[in-house]
Structure formats: structure tokens, C-alpha cells
């Protein structure tokens, strides 16, 4: 090799990213900066959107080898943790370690509010099919209405990996917008009298019940919808660490440094999948629109079902807690509290809204499980993968190539 000054200079010039920077890359760098801005100055789920935006920035520097499709690159390595569904369940374990099911156990019928809020998922599914997405894609888009980040990522990586980036961005952005999106809908769909309903104090719950509950949920839900076991099972394991009282060390690690480490890797990986190719499409706009629809309908579904429960209970349930059924813990519950307190400052809905709030987490996990039962079987996912390989790249060629080769030789 020759290294004269001029040949080297020319080599350096040609290796700068400027020479291959296309308008799409530049636009995506702008999108990345926007996400970082929203995270820091607008406090939009900063723990996720800051590293996600930064990952997007790195991925869109041409030749940086930081896109999720750059085999051998750093962020592709983290991306494997999403692709193989390792990172979202670990996050969910941490969320479980942070979750108190007490309010839900004290008032179990609020689980129905968590179910009702899933109506947003299905309205969006129908809307997505109407806009031309296929059923798997539509399911992955619909789950945005569940307002649950890890669940959205988990399902998207299984059913529609090529849409992972816009789905994740939409999910986390709208989760941050819960305090803006929900209140007008809540006020629109309730009467002043209903908003002033005061709820009875929650019964205290035996610690034993709190310990048995996660095991019971795991057995009941996972047997019915086995596809959701990685997510729901790990969620409940984290909660066991919390409630059992004998695993304080593991509890502390799961809810602090382990979830933090995994959050960094997950968010970077999601950001790295936000390339111009995968993000700057008409589909992204559709998904962003559908996501807003999803949140609005989820809120409406919860509130309307809250009104029904209000009626049936003879006015002992404040329908404002219904909107908390969307997940987005604890933001949605705080919104219920705030809207309630605006009407009557002596009205304390926060703890009552925590019930539907954590029910919403279970609800969207169950919704994901239903989709996995319907669309997640092996053959479909294989087909999906093969179909998408040209788009999303094929980061796991080893195994499959071996299989192919072995087949070829056998013949």
C-alpha cells in the first residue's frame, strides 16, 4: 500500500461521512435532535427518549456502523437483545419490582378498566388494516394504545420488526403526552357530578395475598396465553422479589442498576433502528396518527367503562379512574388524581387510580398475548422474517445459513 500525502489525503476525504451524507440521513439527524430536545426540555420520558434519540443520531452518521442493520456494529449488538426478546422482559422484571399491586388487590374489579382501555388497541388495529397494513403489522401498531413501552417493543419485534422504530417512538412519545391528551377526553365524557364522586378507602391487603398474587397471575395468564410468558412471567418475578421480603438484594438490583443498564442498551438499540430507510416513509406518519387515535380511544374506553361501573355500583366508582387503565404508570393515575382534584380539591383518587393503572399493564400484556396466539406461530414468524430480510437485514445468518447448507448437502 502506498501512503503518499496526497493519496492519504484523498482517502481521508473520501472516508468522511460528508461525502456519503444523503438528505435522508441529515433529516434523521434532525429527528434525533428533536427527540433529544423533547427528552431534555419537554421531559418526554427522558430515560428512554434521550438514549433513543442519541442512538438515532449515531446510527445516521453514514459509515459509522452504528445502525441496527450494520452487522458487527456496537448498536447492532445491543439490537440483538431486542430481536431475541431478551431486553424487554428484563425491563419488565424491573417494572414488576417497582410495582405495588396493593390498590388492585383491594379493588379487583378495576381490572375491568384495564381491559376496557384496550379498546384503543382494537380501534387502532381496525384503523391500521383500513390504512393498508396487514394483520400482524396492524396488531403491532394497535398495541401502542396499550401505552406500555416494553410490551410495544416486544410485540413489534415479533410481529413487525420493520416497524419497530416508529412504533417505539410513537409509544414513548404519546406516553409522555398522557397529561395533555387525556384530560379533555375525560372531561368530555363525564358529568361534573360523576367527577365529584368520592371513593371509599381501599381495604388493606394481607402480605400473603400480595406474595401469592404474582404466582397466580403467572399460572392463570400464561397457561391461557403462553406467548406472553417472557413478558408477564418476568414482570411477576420482579414483583415476587419485592413482596416476598426475603430477596431484598435481588429486588434492589432489579429495580435500579439492572433495569438502568438494560434501559440504556434497549433505548440505544431502538434508536439505532431509526434509519432514514426504515423511518422516513409514509407508514411512519400513519403510525404516528394511529398512535394518537389509539391513546384517545384507550382513554375513552376506560372512562366510558368507568361510567358503566359508576352506574352499576350505585355511584361508588369515580369514572375518572377509568382513564388510568391505559398503563403509563404512574402518570395516568396522576392525571386521574389531578382532574378529580380540579373538580373538588378534597377528592383523592390517586390510590384508587393505581388499581386500573397496573391493571392496564396486565391488560396490554394480555392483549399482546392474544395477538401472539393468533399471529405469532412459528411458520408465520419465519415467513415474516424471510420476507423482511431484504429490508431489515439479516443479523443472524449463522444458524440459518447452517440449516440451509445442511439441507443442501443432504439432497
Amino acid at each position: 500500500m502506498e501512503f503518499s500525502f496526497s493519496s492519504s489525503a484523498s482517502k481521508i476525504v473520501h472516508s468522511t461521512a460528508f461525502t456519503s451524507l444523503e438528505s435522508g440521513d441529515a433529516l434523521m439527524i434532525g429527528v434525533a435532535c428533536l427527540l433529544v430536545y423533547l427528552a431534555i426540555w419537554k421531559k418526554f420520558e427522558p430515560l428512554l427518549l434521550l438514549p433513543m434519540g442519541f442512538g438515532c443520531l449515531l446510527a445516521n452518521v453514514p459509515m459509522s456502523m452504528m445502525a441496527s442493520t450494520d452487522t458487527g456494529g456496537l448498536l447492532n449488538f445491543f439490537y440483538q437483545g431486542i430481536k431475541h426478546e431478551v431486553l424487554p422482559p428484563i425491563i419488565f422484571m424491573g417494572v414488576g419490582a417497582l410495582t405495588d399491586f396493593g390498590p388492585l388487590l383491594a379493588n379487583p374489579t378495576t381490572l375491568l378498566l384495564g381491559a376496557a382501555a384496550q379498546i384503543g388497541v382494537y380501534m387502532t388495529l381496525i384503523g391500521a388494516v383500513f390504512l393498508g397494513f396487514n394483520m400482524q403489522e396492524a396488531s403491532a401498531i394497535g398495541i401502542i394504545g396499550g401505552a406500555d413501552g416494553p410490551t410495544s417493543i416486544f410485540l413489534a419485534s415479533k410481529l413487525a420488526p420493520h416497524l419497530l422504530a416508529p412504533i417505539a417512538v410513537a409509544a414513548y412519545s404519546y406516553m409522555s403526552l398522557v397529561p395533555l391528551i387525556q384530560p379533555p377526553i375525560m372531561r368530555l365524557l363525564t358529568t361534573e357530578k360523576e367527577r365529584k364522586v368520592k371513593m371509599e378507602q381501599l381495604k388493606p391487603i394481607s402480605q400473603t395475598v400480595k406474595i401469592i398474587f404474582p404466582v397466580a397471575v403467572t399460572i392463570v395468564c400464561c397457561l391461557m396465553l403462553p406467548g406472553v410468558t417472557p413478558l408477564l412471567g418476568m414482570f411477576m418475578l420482579g414483583n415476587m422479589f419485592r413482596e416476598s421480603g426475603v430477596t431484598a438484594r435481588l429486588h434492589e438490583t432489579a429495580e435500579t442498576h439492572l433495569i438502568n443498564i438494560v434501559t440504556i442498551f434497549l433505548a440505544l438499540a431502538v434508536g439505532s433502528s431509526m434509519t432514514a430507510e426504515s423511518f422516513l416513509r409514509l407508514e411512519t406518519l400513519k403510525i404516528i396518527a394511529l398512535g394518537l387515535l389509539a391513546f384517545a380511544f384507550a382513554t375513552a374506553g376506560g372512562v366510558i367503562f368507568g361510567r358503566i361501573m359508576c352506574k352499576l355500583s350505585g355511584g361508588r366508582v369515580n369514572p375518572l379512574i377509568g382513564s388510568a387503565g391505559v398503563s403509563a404508570v404512574p402518570m395516568a393515575a396522576r392525571v386521574s388524581q389531578k382532574v378529580g382534584a380540579e373538580e373538588d380539591s378534597s377528592n383523592f383518587l390517586l390510590m384508587h387510580a393505581m388499581g386500573p393503572n397496573v391493571a392496564g399493564v396486565i391488560g396490554s400484556a394480555v392483549a399482546a398475548g392474544v395477538f401472539l396466539s393468533l399471529f405469532g406461530d412459528a411458520s408465520t414468524s419465519m415467513d415474516t422474517h424471510a420476507a423482511l430480510a431484504p429490508i431489515i437485514g439479516n443479523p443472524e445468518p449463522g444458524m440459518q445459513a447452517v440449516a440451509t447448507v445442511v439441507e443442501a448437502i443432504k439432497q
Binding site: 374489579t109 375491568l112 381491559a115 383500513f130 394483520m135 394481607s206 401469592i212 392474544v370
Partner: protein, 89 residues
Amino acid sequence: MEASVSAAVSVSALAMSVIFMVLIILIFTIKLLVKLIPYEAPPAPPARKVSAASSQPEQDDQVAAITASLAAHMGKRPDEFRIVNIQSR
């Protein structure tokens, strides 16, 4: 398109049914649990029980350990003096 939208409606109806079914089963499970294992007035969560139960032997061990090392440093036999209590930080 129309066909697939109607399929989407079917799927949605079915899925909502399943969700409600699963969550209703959960509700009854919870109600059963709460009925079988009622909350008892003096809140004695296992967590505290543990520390209460195990702190005594642990403190005994600590007393023994500290006695032994004190003995080593003071050049006395452990039975020549006695540590009565240890105030933890």
C-alpha cells in the same frame, strides 16, 4: 380491503372477549385469595418478621465475633469480659 377490515373487526371482537374472560378469571382468583387470606390487624409483613426473627441470632453472632476480635486485641480470653448489646448504626 373490505374483507380484511371485517376480519380485523372479527379479530378485535374475539380478542376483547378473551381479554375480558382472562381478567374476569383473575378477578375471581383475587376475590378468592382475599377471602381465604384476610388481612390481619397488626400488620406483620414477612419482611419485618424475617429481620425480627433472624436479627436475634445474627446479633448473637455479632456479639460472639466482636467479643472474639476484641479479645484478640485486648489479649484477654473471651470469657473474661462480656458484651451485652450492640447498637447498630
